[in-house]
């Protein structure tokens, strides 16, 4: 019976492990919410500038943020940009950044890791030295250096992140491969005469990809955070672009309000900031649940 096919059973078991975890359910719900917002953005917050929906609309140029009102549901930030619009379209930006960067970085990392693990020897040594060098400088610092060299802008930030972010994937994939290579079932396949490439593709890669998957999920959040910080200091998205980090940057001078009402402009920071936190939280929760689900030691507990 198809329901008793071992692979399907394993899949069902894994799914149950993932969703049996209440935190995972919260994560998935959050993610679905964000996906919905991103997909339906043109309907939820109709763009003012047809040629570039990422430009936030602003009525006027006054620097003081205005609190939530009937025209601006979340209020406006410095320069009268509508926070609600920014929050909605910023979701799209966040997805763009996270998925683009992680996909490219993961692909590069996995390919290099596979080459390193498969060939071993000099190739492995060389690649590992290069990875060591790229690792030596913190992600943020390298990204800043590259952005300074290439120029500001969200696209440059994304390229810079992708150029640096692959380093962890190489290590993770390589260690996965090295562990799997020695396991009995791989030795058995070798003894049966299966070619190296087939072993790599059919046995090692499908089994070794899990830690990479877990890392990728959690990395999406990290990348969005780094990009947000870059926008915050002014190296990323330009002013008025619908990016959460950019929106926090706009409110820089309004962190503390007048002495009698210091939290007056809370919405300018908390709302875009909250979006970032919830977005990252969603990916982290899912990544964490995946890690617990895939960990063989905790699996059958």
């Amino acid at each position: 019976m198809i329901a008793n096919h071992p692979r399907l059973k394993e899949l069902k078991f894994t799914l149950r492990r993932i969703f049996g975890n209440p935190l995972a359910i919260i994560g998935f719900s959050l993610l679905l919410f964000f996906i919905a917002v991103a997909v339906f953005a043109p309907y939820i917050a109709p763009p003012k500038y047809e040629h570039n929906p990422y430009l936030m609309p602003h009525k006027g140029y006054s620097q003081t943020p205005r609190p939530p009102s009937k025209q601006n549901i979340f209020g406006t930030t410095a320069g009268q940009y509508d926070i609600f619009y920014g929050a909605v379209w910023g979701t799209r930006t966040a997805f763009k950044i996270g998925i683009f960067v992680v996909c490219i970085a993961a692909c590069i990392g996995v390919i290099l890791g596979v080459i390193s693990g498969y060939y071993g020897g000099i190739v492995d040594e060389l690649l590992m030295r290069i990875v060591d060098i790229v690792f030596a400088i913190p992600l943020l610092v390298l990204t800043m250096a590259i952005v300074v060299a290439f120029g500001r802008g969200l696209d440059k930030v994304m390229i810079a992140l992708a150029m640096v972010g692959w380093r962890s994937y190489v290590r993770v994939m390589r260690s996965s491969i090295l562990t799997l290579r020695e396991l009995d079932f791989v030795q058995a396949a070798r003894a049966m005469g299966v070619s190296n490439i087939k072993i790599m593709l059919r046995h090692i890669l499908p089994n070794g990809i899990y830690p990479v998957l877990v890392m990728a999920f959690m990395d999406i959040g990290s990348m969005v955070v780094v990009a947000a910080f870059m926008s915050f200091v002014g190296l990323g998205a330009p002013k008025g672009y619908a990016d959460w980090g950019q929106m926090v940057a706009l409110a820089r001078n309004y962190i503390v309000g007048p002495p009698d009402d210091p939290l007056k402009y809370w919405y300018a920071i908390v709302i875009p900031g909250g979006c970032i936190v919830l977005f990252v939280l969603a990916w982290n929760l899912i990544g964490d649940a995946l890690r617990d689900a895939f960990d063989p030691k905790i699996r059958r507990g």
């Binding site: 935190l23 030295r129 290069i130 060591d132 060098i133 790229v134 690792f135 030596a136 400088i137 913190p138 992600l139 943020l140 610092v141 390298l142 800043m144 250096a145 590259i146 952005v147 300074v148 060299a149 290439f150 959040g221 955070v225 947000a228 910080f229 915050f232 200091v233 002014g234 190296l235 926090v248 962190i255 503390v256 309000g257 210091p262 939290l263 809370w266 920071i269 908390v270 900031g273 970032i276 936190v277 990252v280 939280l281 982290n284 929760l285 964490d288 960990d295 030691k297 905790i298």
Partner: protein, 333 residues
């Protein structure tokens, strides 16, 4: 081995720099509008047109003789500015590190021992939230609440009055370490120490929360793995009480994989200090780097990158030594 890495780092940094055209790089040597006309002359003068390796060796030679260029942001040579900013960052990290280590290991051990209980679940939620909070955002919110609303824990390094006093009275207040907390004690000025501590509190808290979240999880999973091992059963069968089992046997072994992660933690510490220093306006290396990036102050970028590379290499060296100390299996090899 480490020398190779450093060498590679320097090449990497220099390589990034070289992506600028010679004219743009010349702009880094320019300090007044009139000199803009002279850019071709500057290119000529500094040999900015020469092949890569020539320029690289020239630069390395300068680096080794202490000349890292001029920082626009600091209005003084990079080397001097570095020693001006370094104590601030050192002070911050000196205060964060012990808390991170103590809380991370303690909470992680407890979560691992009391697995799937309330302690475990609550620390897990704390860990995930802490990890999801971007450092800069957390810092901003803390600033809003504690400085804006409650009026305690102001940003900056020292209050304006005290700062002026220190600057104008070098004979009455000797800056031995250039760290206000320690110098305050050494000079018998507790009020300076307290003021500096007050302003340190938020930055330290911000860093600690985010990094403890990571360390705790690693410690926890390491403990869980150790506790299920066979030698723990032997210890139990020997008549060891729970305390001896967990802390004498399991935890020591569990620390080994944690030391591996220590490299990551150092990196996060450094990254975090950039955000924290920028948000709380503490002029340390991180702040300097961020400001230089915004102002395209290239020599600073290169110098600070080198510095970070150096820190990483030294940290890994220390970690390797620690490894050999904890794990006797590694010692003979």
């Amino acid at each position: 081995m480490l020398g190779v890495v450093l060498f590679g780092v320097s090449i990497l940094i220099f390589g990034i720099l070289m992506t600028f055209s010679p004219e743009r790089r010349a702009a880094a040597y320019v300090s007044s509008p009139q000199q803009v006309k002279d850019i071709p002359a500057i290119v000529e003068q500094f040999g900015l047109d020469d092949p890569f390796y020539l320029q690289y060796f020239r630069w390395i030679k300068e680096v080794f003789s202490g000349n890292l260029g001029w920082s626009v942001v600091a209005a003084r040579p990079v080397w001097d500015a570095f020693w001006h900013y370094f104590p601030i960052t050192l002070e911050l990290n000196l205060f964060t590190s012990p808390f991170i280590i103590i809380f991370g290991i303690w909470l992680g051990t407890q979560a691992g021992i009391h697995r799937n209980t309330f302690i475990d679940h609550s620390t897990r939620i704390f860990a995930i939230t802490g990890w999801s909070l971007p450092t800069f955002l957390f810092g901003l919110i803390m600033l809003m609440i504690f400085y804006g609303y409650f009026g305690i824990f102001p940003p900056g390094i020292i209050s304006d009055d005290l700062g002026m006093f220190i600057r104008e009275n070098p004979d009455r207040f000797r800056q031995y370490t250039h760290m206000y907390t320690i110098d305050g004690l050494l000079n018998g000025r507790l009020d300076i120490t307290l003021d500096a501590l007050k302003r340190l509190f938020m930055p330290v808290l911000t860093q600690v929360v985010v990094i403890v979240a990571l360390l705790m999880r690693v410690m926890r999973s390491s403990m869980i793995e150790e506790i299920s091992k066979e030698y723990i059963l032997t210890a139990r069968a020997k008549g060891a009480d729970k305390r001896t089992i967990y802390f004498k046997h399991a935890r020591k072994n569990a620390l080994i994989p944690v030391v591996t992660v220590a490299g990551w933690l150092v990196a996060f510490l450094m990254e975090g200090s950039i955000a924290v220093e920028y948000i709380f306006t503490r002029q340390g290396i991180g702040w300097w780097l961020a400001s230089s990036a915004i102002s395209l102050d290239i020599p600073v970028l290169m110098g600070v990158c080198l510095f970070f590379g150096l820190v990483y290499v030294i940290a890994n060296l220390i970690i390797d030594i620690l490894y050999a100390y904890i794990d006797p299996r590694i010692r003979l090899t």
